[in-house]
Symmetry: C2
Subunit: 427 residues, 2 copies
Amino acid sequence: MRPAMQAPGRVVIVGGGFGGLYAARVLAAAGAPVTVVDRRNFHLFQPLLYQVATGGLSPGDIASPIRSVLKRHLNARVVLGEVVDIDPPRRRVLIRGGDELVYDTLVVATGSEPSYFGHDLWMARAPGLKTVEDALLVRQRVFAAFERAELEPDGAARQALTTFAVVGGGPTGVELAGAIAELARSTLARDYRAFDPARARVLLLEGGDRILPVFPAELSRRATRSLERLGVEVRTHAFVVAIADGSLTVRVNDRDETIPAATVLWAAGVRASSFSDRLVERFCARRDPGGRVEVTADLSLPGHPEVFVIGDLALASGRSGRPLPGLAPVAMQQGRFVARRILGREPAGARFRYRDKGQLAVIGRNAAVCDLGRVRFFGFPAWLVWVFVHIAYLIEYDNKVLVLVQWAMSYVTRKRGARLITNPAVE
Amino acid sequence: MRPAMQAPGRVVIVGGGFGGLYAARVLAAAGAPVTVVDRRNFHLFQPLLYQVATGGLSPGDIASPIRSVLKRHLNARVVLGEVVDIDPPRRRVLIRGGDELVYDTLVVATGSEPSYFGHDLWMARAPGLKTVEDALLVRQRVFAAFERAELEPDGAARQALTTFAVVGGGPTGVELAGAIAELARSTLARDYRAFDPARARVLLLEGGDRILPVFPAELSRRATRSLERLGVEVRTHAFVVAIADGSLTVRVNDRDETIPAATVLWAAGVRASSFSDRLVERFCARRDPGGRVEVTADLSLPGHPEVFVIGDLALASGRSGRPLPGLAPVAMQQGRFVARRILGREPAGARFRYRDKGQLAVIGRNAAVCDLGRVRFFGFPAWLVWVFVHIAYLIEYDNKVLVLVQWAMSYVTRKRGARLITNPAVE
């Protein structure tokens, strides 16, 4: 028997990422009074941020205003603001500037940020890739390095300027390294006069024994081969021990090597957003070392059935008992689950179960690896799957068909139209 | 008889705007050793900046990397850098950071910047629209004002937050005011819950007796009517006498009126770039009150046939003896003229003559005014002319066909995909 519908109270969702937005859409469509609060006025399609960082797309191409996504639902409100605290006795969410939002149910989906494992000084030297500003900073560094190389008379200094080290061999690192290698070898091939961009070095540094460790070993091998064909030097068992201005030091088998590299990019890990501090203070929540918040089987906080935590911020367990990875599909499914739960559409003892549909990582212009569990693809077929999945998502959200067509075309023509250096350029 | 070709020496072009780039293309195609220096790595299609400011386009859509424009020509070099001085005896251009470029011929095309007629404090309160950063700042202010209005309980304060004053009734002011009015009345129509965006006030303030003063009076009247249909309040004979935080004071017929308005945008005038200071110091150049540099009939500096000044920076005279306006077509034609002159393709006593092909200004989603001299268009036909001219330009430069198709589509669907607030949002 289907459970009786119960009238949902006021729902406040903190964070308009994949988890928050999927929850909001289900709640809004059901007519529930829902409010989404975010520091930004847009939802960002983070899986394509590496394209913004390498000049293939503009930030507007992968961002959808949260308001437009929810505009058809008069019961849905969007608030631009930073949530600074929660007041559980009064059931209020406090926003910087003094505004307050009353909730009956709270969904916290504030995501994650790059983690430097305690080396906070590295943050300024090796930007990560989580926000639009991150991506524009990476873009600025990459293109400014080529520009400085054009004016550099010394050969060794020029080689350092055109050496790009990507730290971390997960999907983001693989995608970033592949895109930079293609940028140097194809897009910029004839742009410079004082040096050949094709001689740029792109290093992908991974601490473990293979890149893409969450994929089957066969796909890691194929990804490595694809990257090497693009000219990326893939180094495994390589731990970064120091990042200085203009170089980084890597430890491989207890031997330290210092590599002159003007541009170091960080894709080695993330930690849960620091908003989890508030959950610890106000709800005695418990966290793992990565800052993720322990939740019950229905994704609520223990002892607080009115507070749900989803997405990268949540420490939820999969079937095997291992924590679920911080992936967009996990956050999306969790968002939909808690929305149904709030609407009374899930039975009393319902548990969240992640349906793993597979994983994708793209390597340069026309290769990818794709693990659908039983089926594995690589190369061009995997790339087609990857393109299809991403186009489908962006169309669902903002009808950005032509953006994707344009981008597909620039993939074919190897052009990158969004190569603006918009920070103060050369000092 | 065609003049004999002479081998051109090294040409350095300062500035990659319309003037500089048109000169560079002709010189590059002829095989001349040419270097373009710019502070930015991209050429910006300024006539569409108002679309970036109102969320219709991304910066990358209207920017072309200067390198890609010139990549086919191995004789053409592009340098990213700020020119800080010129050393005429050594024929060097000095770049911040210490690099130097040797020239035989110098083309200075550094353009113009917003002018506040001595009210420099207004600069921070009423941003102009000349750079990508300007446009993103305007975008941030416009969308943040709507966001703050959503949280503002007081009716009068909310009205002030949704009042937008555009100062200056030239083409930029007309385009900006029209775009903001459409944004409020169409794009954002269903986005907010606490107020109706259609009740936003958009003021266009012009000091003279009509907007678009360089157009025939009939087109000014039609433009006024089109703007009013969009909901813009057009005020002529209105002089801004003060801009404060949250309000501006306008003097009309010796009566001062203070209008609460959170967002004031400046389109009232430009002055030549301050690089003209260097031309005064190094070449004893003379300037008009707007900072424009006097040039001879062939656009060179008096007494310095090896130095050309073109575009908004140059005070060149038209047929009637009046100074030529600071328009893209003027700069383009001047760029081509000096390139031909440098290549020896113009006869000895050649004078630059501006071929006026007409003027265009667009008003909102599907109206424009278009003055082709004998023929005048307005409304939708003029809009089609306007679209055609702009598409033709962008295709010529960067093959941005799909950008324009996408943009045309969002014109039809009234969507604006690039509504990112990328500065720190709400304080």
